[in-house]
Symmetry: C2
């Protein structure tokens, strides 16, 4: 057995643990952003705290100002990360549904009412970001870009769906704005009060909206796949 010589001159059987680890900048930043998201999920607004975040990340408070110009900067980058990650996962769900526009759109709706998005941790984090937006130009910019990307994703899928159905008069931009709003409103209501309506009802309402806009373009309602609750409730990783 190797014996280690401690600085004080005494031999010890225990390995001398380094007092801290020197990480790569990108690793550190990712660690702190993750800790911030966890903190917001646990403590809400009170989680926006250098000391709490540092404790959650297992580093000293001073390190945050070493990697981020301020706590607000860290929060903004965390918002960006959460928004980007959710969008990416939504995209993966849609792509996993294959090339059929009908199934892709259906997968998109299902995902919105599955644990991927209906997640107490996610809503707790998200409402904190929302509450900060009116007081931060940086957050406002991220919200603007992020909302635009969500709408663009919906619009793309809606347009493909309508095109397949042969509806050329279909106004995908308008339908996307309405669907995005309805999804957001339903998601928020369900997260704030999980018993206010069954998640499958949310899927039905969104299908109604799409069918209505199709009908307006002269097309018959879509033939939707059955709503399978186990598909809806499919295991989903947590926020981030």
């Amino acid at each position: 057995m190797i014996k280690y010589l401690r600085k004080d001159g005494f031999e010890t059987m225990a390995k001398v643990e380094p007092k801290f680890h020197r990480g790569l900048p990108d690793e550190r930043r990712a660690l702190l952003i993750r800790a911030t998201i966890d903190c917001l999920a646990t403590n809400g607004h009170a989680g926006v705290s250098v000391r709490r975040i540092a404790a959650a990340a297992g580093v000293s408070a001073g390190l945050i100002n070493h990697y981020f110009v301020s706590i607000d900067d860290l929060v903004a980058q965390s918002f960006d990360q959460v928004a980007t990650e959710i969008l990416r996962k939504l995209g993966l769900r849609v792509d996993a549904a294959g090339p059929d526009p009908r199934l892709r759109l259906s997968a998109y709706l299902d995902a919105y009412f599955s644990p991927l998005l209906v997640d107490q941790d996610l809503i707790r984090v998200w409402v904190v970001f929302w509450s900060l937006i009116p007081h931060s130009a940086e957050l406002r910019e991220i919200q603007k870009r992020s909302a635009g990307e969500y709408r663009a994703l919906i619009e793309r899928e809606l347009a493909a769906f309508a095109h397949q159905a042969g509806a050329d008069k279909f106004d995908a931009a308008r339908a996307a704005l309405g669907l995005f709003a309805m999804l957001d409103g339903l998601w928020l209501e369900l997260c704030l009060n999980p018993l206010s309506y069954p998640p499958a009802e949310g899927v039905i309402l969104c299908r109604h909206w799409i069918d209505g806009e199709l009908g307006r373009a002269g097309m018959p309602p879509a033939e939707w796949p059955p709503i399978e609750m186990e598909r809806l409730a499919a295991l989903a990783p947590k926020v981030g």
Copy 2:
């Protein structure tokens, strides 16, 4: 001219101002709730502060704990007040439209995209409440009740509208849930980013939703009144 004798024995021409005013409990509570709402509108989450609220109300910090068991209690009662007040004003707008269900529903939609609700002060206050809901049973209860009342109001107007149109198959509860969500989502998006779409577009989207649900019940689309922007932008008092 009457001369006043000051405590220190010196005469003075100035009237001796009372050091403070003794208010009635209800007046004081109303004053503090109003100051809280103002503080949240100005400072967001940072406005949830005994000292700031007391300063805004022009009283000492200690007075808050005299009338409210805690700052959280005061915030909860403020949420209740804002939610109740907005609902009341929406009801007034609808009633002002007269007895015709079509005009009442139209007035409701217009109000949602008018300065009555699309108000930077209101959104700033509201998102703070939302962000606190997951961490307060009291706020959760108020949100639950309040959302129920909003939905009930919409459902009543939708049912009357459908009844007039002769649509007996119309599912008012379902249509109300969808309309409520769409309104909430559109309102939020517009408040967070006022340039994301023109307010009149929001009215159109909601009308589309109602027409779609009517069509599903076998009825033709409603004959909507023209959207007058000046009506939409009608002067509206601030939150509370």
